[in-house]
Subunit: 205 residues, 2 copies
DNA sequence: GCCTTAAGATAGTAATCAGTCACTATCTAA
DNA sequence: TTAGATAGTGACTGATTACTATCTTAAGGC
């Protein structure tokens, strides 16, 4: 976060800055723990000024989640480009997602933020939309891989997609809570082959 | 939660009740969202009375997490008894854990409660202890399975343990957020074979 | 160099929260 | 029956919160 001294910004620029600050702080403390005062402090602004740009705090989170969704989907789209085959695409998505989380830890914190998602149906719908969209993407790649004969034909693709997402979540928990010694990228490289073997099953590598 | 009319409890009994209520409410709203007022209401008590039995709110969470840890470990211990082999034990643990989460949803909510774990080092240490203990248990089973020649010898057991925990987390997210149509148990039965294939690798089933 | 406009400051409000404290009601044991 | 112990009450405090008036001042077009 850079410090701007007495610089008055346009409404549009300030809105974007607020979203960035919200994403940044949510990555450190989770949505629940971030106050508008903290956001204002991070920008060298008074707390009341925030509400000139957003009607409510929840509106900030909605904007922040939308920003994250678009950024993540963009990153995944770029990662998949130039993939040799569906399974290679899957692996690229996996690593791209982990890189994104390393850069924006707000993502897992929002997915697991419990109460807020329970109470605000708009936020809940947004997060669900991201997850279902992501799952559909994985299922599509798995179906392509099946057609290409790269994975076993009896594979439950929805289960395999859940396992894919779980693999990412498991890694996040290992890093965030257990504080594993190996880096996330390093750990990830050990995990993916196990997953691959799982979905390939009897098919020769 | 049952309603007790004007029944005065011993300090010990009331403490246990507070822990139960805390676990119950944390499963519904997450640790962060539960207030001492809500706890008191659930027991037909005034809010101030809580603090005759616990010095601080965090002390309640510490007691609640300890209770959950012992209960979970007990359930896992029972589940593993009578397992035919290490991999069977792993599968029993998997299903027992999911059953436990279905009964006490507080567990995943606490693991992912972000801010509180960041700010309270005692809580954080407790949760980490649970996770590392659990991971050690899985690694042990995997090593036994390797010795028995049931899984591929080059398997990274720590990665496989992370994937095991991620499988559970992925299922929880699917149910809680996406609200998958299939039941968790049903979904679980589709997931585990994929995991098994992943760790068996080239070894014949 | 004004003058309008909109970003921001200042100083609130009402609600909610954990934790305190003096007191009261109830239980138990002699 | 009574006296001591203690679970529970009720009213409170101080801190924090999202959000809102009203005033101030900087920026940009003319």
């Amino acid at each position: 976060m850079e410090i701007k001294l007495k610089q008055r910004l346009s409404a549009e620029a300030r809105q974007e800055q607020i979203i960035q600050v919200a994403v940044d702080l949510a990555g450190k403390r989770g949505m629940q723990g971030v106050t508008t005062q903290e956001m204002a402090d991070a920008m060298g602004l008074t707390q009341g000024a925030i509400f000139r740009h957003f009607p409510t705090k929840d509106a900030i989170w909605i904007a922040a989640i939308n920003w994250l969704r678009e950024s993540l989907m963009g990153a995944l789209g770029v990662a998949v480009q130039g993939a040799r085959d569906p399974l290679d695409a899957l692996e690229r998505m996996f690593h791209a997602h982990l890189s994104f989380i390393a850069q924006y830890p707000a993502i897992p914190r929002i997915v697991f933020s419990g109460q807020m998602l329970d109470e605000n149906p708009v936020l809940r719908a947004l997060v669900r939309e991201i997850l279902t969209g992501y799952e559909a993407r994985i299922v599509m790649l798995l179906l392509q891989a099946r057609e290409a004969g790269m994975i076993r034909p009896d594979l439950d693709e929805h289960g395999a997609a859940t396992l894919f997402l779980g693999m990412i979540q498991g890694l996040v928990v290992q890093i965030k809570i257990v504080g594993v010694d190996r880096s996330m990228q390093e750990e990830a490289r050990k995990l993916f082959p196990i997953y691959l073997a799982g979905i390939k099953g009897g098919v020769a590598a």
